[in-house]
């Protein structure tokens, strides 16, 4: 009897870990593009997640533009559309603020503009949190879908042990994987993707090649914002959120990006997956309040073995 329950718990934790991990992976890819590849420190990334959640909320619920799609398809279309909305927001943010502390302007400076970026994005984050409080209010919101409370049952596998896969999370997980793989392919194999990596690697030399680094940085930054926002929209279907939710996730995103290895999109996804997995599996042995503590224990252990740290550059060997 006890064994059956144990097996059921473990299998369900694994399933939840993988599905939630994939969504975290997508969220981390957004930051992986901005911080891992373009090397822009962005502490407002959590607020972009929050903006994604609220964009989706206002699109889908009440008299939102997507209300006609109903509660099954609507929330997921809303999550996808949160992408372009926050993409546009990110492009503006870059044009007026981030461009001044990154790219060609700070190329070759001692800190590569990191200090400026830290201060600017921390400020943006505070403004968005409190602006969100004024605009959206403080009561917890959620994008309701009936799929969040229904599950696909697999099993019974051992005795009565059954795995329950939450449908909302399963769809979110599939969307996350598709977007992650497409982004990887774009970065790795297209001319635009290569130009983006070249501009991140050496903005001055990229300019000599005829690459408009300012535009390239803006595209990458906005893309990173949009992707995290889509992850936010997907998460909004299964959890309740408020204007300050970004705080909980910005740390998770940085852990994921650093865990996976800076500069690699698949790495960021892998890092996010690890974080989600550890978080869910730790629920088996730890009280829920300590779930995030478990993430950092694993994080510290991995950093101990991979000591390049936040600003360390791992790609330079010669």
């Amino acid at each position: 009897m006890d064994l059956e329950i144990l097996i059921e718990n473990v299998l369900n934790a694994l399933a939840a870990g993988i599905t939630i991990g994939c969504i975290y992976g997508l969220m981390c890819i957004g930051l992986g593009l901005i911080f891992g590849i373009m090397r822009i420190v962005n502490f407002a990334q959590g607020e972009l997640l929050m903006l994604g959640m609220f964009s989706s909320l206002y699109l889908v619920t009440g008299a939102g533009a997507l209300a006609f799609l109903g509660p099954y398809i609507g929330p997921f279309v809303g999550a996808l559309l949160a992408g372009p909305i926050v993409f546009a927001f990110g492009a503006l943010l870059h044009k007026f603020l981030i461009a001044r502390v990154s790219g060609l302007r700070t190329a070759g400076s001692i800190d590569d503009g990191h200090f400026g970026q830290l201060v600017v994005t921390l400020g943006i984050s505070l403004i968005l949190q409190n602006g969100g409080l004024i605009l959206f209010g403080s009561s917890p919101a959620t994008v309701r879908t009936p799929l969040a409370s229904s599950a696909i049952e697999i099993g019974p596998i051992y005795g009565d042990a059954t795995v329950f896969l939450n449908k909302a999370r399963l769809i979110a997980c599939a969307v996350a994987i598709i977007i992650a793989v497409s982004l990887y392919l774009v970065l790795e194999y297209t001319r635009m993707g290569k130009a983006l990596r070249a501009a991140a690697d050496n903005p001055t030399a990229a300019t000599y090649m005829g690459i408009d680094t300012d535009k390239t940085y803006r595209l990458a930054f906005a893309l990173g914002c949009g992707i995290t926002a889509i992850a936010g929209g997907l998460m909004a279907t299964y959890l309740s959120f408020g204007p300050f939710i970004g705080l909980d996730y910005v740390i998770i995103m940085y852990s994921g990006v650093v865990l996976g290895g800076m500069g690699s999109i698949l790495g960021a996804f892998w890092g996010g997956l690890t974080v989600g997995f550890v978080q869910q599996c730790s629920a088996l042995v730890l009280p829920p309040q300590l779930q995030n503590a478990a993430i950092f224990v694993v994080f510290l252990l991995i950093i101990l073995l991979r000591p390049q740290g936040l600003f360390g550059r791992s790609a330079e060997r010669a």
Binding site: K194, A195, N202, T207, M209, G210, I211, D212, A315, A318
Partner: protein, 236 residues
Amino acid sequence: MLEVTNLSVSYGGLRALTDVTLSVKEGQFVTVVGPNGAGKSTLFKTISGIVPPAAGQITFMGTSLFGLPPAKRAHLGIAHVPEGRQVFKTLTVLENLEMGAYPKAGREAWHHTLDRIHTLFPILSERAGQLAGTLSGGEQQMVAIGRGLACAPRLLMLDEPSMGLAPAVADTIFERVSQIHREDGVTILLVEQRVAEALELSDHGYVLETGHMVLDGPYETLLQDDRVRKSYLGLS
């Protein structure tokens, strides 16, 4: 082809170039020599648009470069092989070359130029899939020159290609540069500290000292100048 007229450049209040005039004609091999800190790299960076000019004029094929965004200049056919190589370390050798072919002219001639680059530097074909940051200094210089060639340039600007290289490797680089000039007919503007080798290759030389053009003329004339013989060639 390239006309620099009375160019002055300041770096944070400090004069780096004063009243510099230089001319490169189609098909020429022009060398600028001078000691460290003379302003040679600044001259290149101003042509590429990375450093803003204080006064003067630069025209390329009849059009003024001032007011033209830096990234547009490569599309005109100006390839800048920067000092210290500046390869894309996290990109593979082949991707580095592909980035060189970013402008339209480079993309159209890509298959032809890639063959040519591999003929000039066979090692780059062997290392195509390797990250450029893991190459030796000489190989990185080859990537940098190959990357410059990949845009099918009308003007190839090379900033101290021999810097930090073993003499034998530097000799190979000089030989290839000369080959690019003779066989591909690419106009070349070279900045070099290895004065004897550089001047020997060139049609016309300029001597830049503390931001001033102090001397210019064809190779033979410069060789007969006492100051050049003493200061740069070590002859008496």
